[in-house]
């Protein structure tokens, strides 16, 4: 009897334990969400009903920086396409990669330092989203993706343009599929959904959410892959390898035999 009493005093009751567990889970959830939002990549702000002032601020920025090509009402001109229906994902992609604003519409847009700050981008995104319904900014957690699945999807869908190592490649007409070295997870997901530039669109029926997360995780891996063999030589394949074989390999051999043999 004494033993039973001491047991019940030393251990908390069942209900208490459930409450503690729920509290811990809730705390973890809060911590996790906070960590995601505080992570190095500035997460895009959610578009909620309180966004009206943001839309107006975005419109002001738009009129200054974008309307000369995309038109005063966002419906496009001969210099730039309509933005109605491109969605928040498009705007966010082009602005965070610095591809827009674009100086010369005929050139292929390239990754640059973004011209706007994060709050300004949020405002512009809000304005563009208000022009018409379109793809929302995807929320993707790379860790939820599966690395081998990401490899297979990447090899089947992406490697023929962006190369197996993510180093980029040539398309026709002086266009290139860019290197993926600086792409953030959100930007990768956005690009898949909107098909920027020459890129095809990979809609939700072709790549579902989990598959997108896997691709994102694999692209993330490619930004710093295992290079157990030594210097990566740019991961461009046999051509730089051939150069090294001739210049370093054969070159050193020729140096040695010049040293060993006579020269007359």
């Amino acid at each position: 009897m004494t033993a039973r009493l001491s047991r019940s005093r030393d251990r908390a009751g069942f209900g208490t334990r459930v409450l503690l567990a729920a509290g811990a889970a809730g705390a973890l959830l809060v911590c996790g969400t906070t960590m995601v939002t505080l992570s190095a990549v500035p997460a895009p702000a959610a578009l909620t009903a309180q966004a009206e002032p943001r839309v107006m601020a975005g419109r002001d920025l738009y009129l200054t920086g974008c309307s000369s090509c995309h038109g005063p009402d966002g419906r496009g001109t001969e210099r730039g396409p309509t933005l109605a229906g491109v969605g928040a994902a498009s705007a966010d992609f082009f602005l965070t990669t610095g591809r827009m604003p674009l100086d010369e519409p005929r050139d292929q847009a390239q990754r640059k330092q973004p011209a706007y700050s994060r709050p300004e981008i949020d405002q512009l995104v809000a304005y563009v989203a208000s022009l018409g319904p379109g793809p929302e900014i995807p929320h993707v957690d790379p860790k939820s993706g599966d690395l081998p699945e990401g490899f297979e999807l990447y090899a089947n869908n992406c490697a023929s343009c962006h190369s197996s190592a993510g180093a980029g490649g040539a398309l026709g007409h002086a266009l290139i599929a860019p290197s993926l070295g600086k792409a953030t997870p959100t930007q990768v997901a956005e690009a898949l959904r909107i098909g920027p530039g020459s890129m095809p669109v990979f809609g939700p029926d072709v790549l579902d959410e989990h598959q997108v997360a896997s691709v994102v995780r694999y692209v993330d891996y490619l930004q710093d892959p295992a290079d157990p063999g030594g210097l990566s030589l740019g991961r461009l394949g046999p051509i730089p390898e051939g150069f090294v074989a001739w210049v370093v390999g054969l070159g050193l051999m020729l140096v040695f035999i010049r040293w060993i043999g006579t020269t007359e």
């Binding site: 023929s160 490649g169 007409h173 020459s198 669109v201 029926d205 072709v206």
Partner: protein, 303 residues
């Protein structure tokens, strides 16, 4: 007559002329260098053994092997070059051409005492036997592979075969969004390499159908063989704005809106088009197999 001053004598007593190097010094320096090389090589080799035992690391292994092997090499070269008293020697070459006497001697050695006619005839029979045997010896080569037959003209696509993607999911008429591309196979046959096709979604109004192909692309879903007619690489690059399929190997470019006609590059023919239809449940199906052989050209392709 000018008095040619004798060369300066350095206090040590040895002849010191800027152009003459003391041979003993050379040898001593060489010995020192050789010794250092071999010692460095030994240390590196021991280090290599240590790295290996500790679990191995490619860069360390490579670097240590380089030093170790290089040390031995340098030492040996220096030894051969400086310690052996380098001297140039001259040797005579023998004339390799056979003299008349030698040629006659060989002729005599080859000669056999045989009557002309019958032996010549027997010789010819031997030749025939050898040729026939040689020919027969080629027959096992036939076992190396099947006859081409019709294999190059047929793929696994059959009338009514439903389209699936690489994960085995059925493709509906609206699965692929505009400007999207997906690789498809006949249902159940994702291992059929010759059947691989790309399904592209374009604006139905913009399609310029070849005669007889008006029904082949329902609602802008158009499918072509993915195997490049040049040397067979999979044509996986799709440039949406210009509606061009580009082959990553040698940059052959095909116009999706015009029956995948080759616009640029070494490809000489269009990609064969797969005739599509929509079944009652809304899935995309093939009307029939491709109407021409897929892939690279061959001698009897047009027959």
């Amino acid at each position: 007559m000018t008095d040619n001053a004798p060369p300066d004598h350095a206090p040590g007593g040895s002849t010191h002329d800027a152009d003459v190097v003391d041979p003993a010094e050379v040898v001593a320096t060489a010995e020192r260098r050789i010794a250092i090389s071999f010692v460095v090589a030994t240390v590196a080799a021991l280090g290599l053994a240590g790295v290996y035992v500790a679990g191995g690391q490619a860069q360390a292994e490579g670097a240590l092997l380089f030093v170790s092997l290089g040390g031995v090499g340098v030492g040996l070269v220096l030894w051969g070059g400086h310690l052996l008293g380098e001297e140039e020697v001259t040797d005579q070459r023998k004339d390799l051409e056979a003299t008349e006497e030698e040629q006659e001697a060989i002729g005599e050695a080859l000669h056999t005492d045989q009557p002309e006619g019958r032996r010549k005839f027997l010789g010819r029979l031997l030749g025939a036997a050898a040729a026939a045997l040689g020919l027969a010896a080629l027959f096992p080569v036939r076992s190396l592979g099947p006859s081409p037959g019709n294999r190059l003209r047929r793929t696994a696509w059959t009338p009514g075969a439903r389209l699936i993607d690489q994960d085995g999911r059925l493709v509906r008429v609206d699965t692929v969004s505009r400007d999207g591309i997906v690789t498809v196979f006949p249902e159940g046959r994702t291992e059929a390499a010759d059947s691989q096709a790309v399904l592209v979604r374009v604006d139905a109004e913009a399609m310029r159908h070849r005669p007889g192909r008006e029904t082949w692309a329902p609602e802008g879903n158009v499918a072509y063989s993915k195997i490049c007619p040049h040397v067979g690489c999979p044509v996986g690059l799709y440039q949406a704005p210009t509606h061009e399929l580009v082959c990553p190997c040698h940059q052959s470019t095909f116009d999706v809106l015009d029956g995948a006609r080759p616009l640029f590059g070494p490809a000489t023919r269009s990609l064969p088009q797969l005739p599509l239809a929509v079944d009652p449940e809304g899935f995309l199906v093939a009307q029939a197999d491709f109407d021409e052989p897929v892939g690279p050209g061959f001698w009897t392709r047009d027959r």
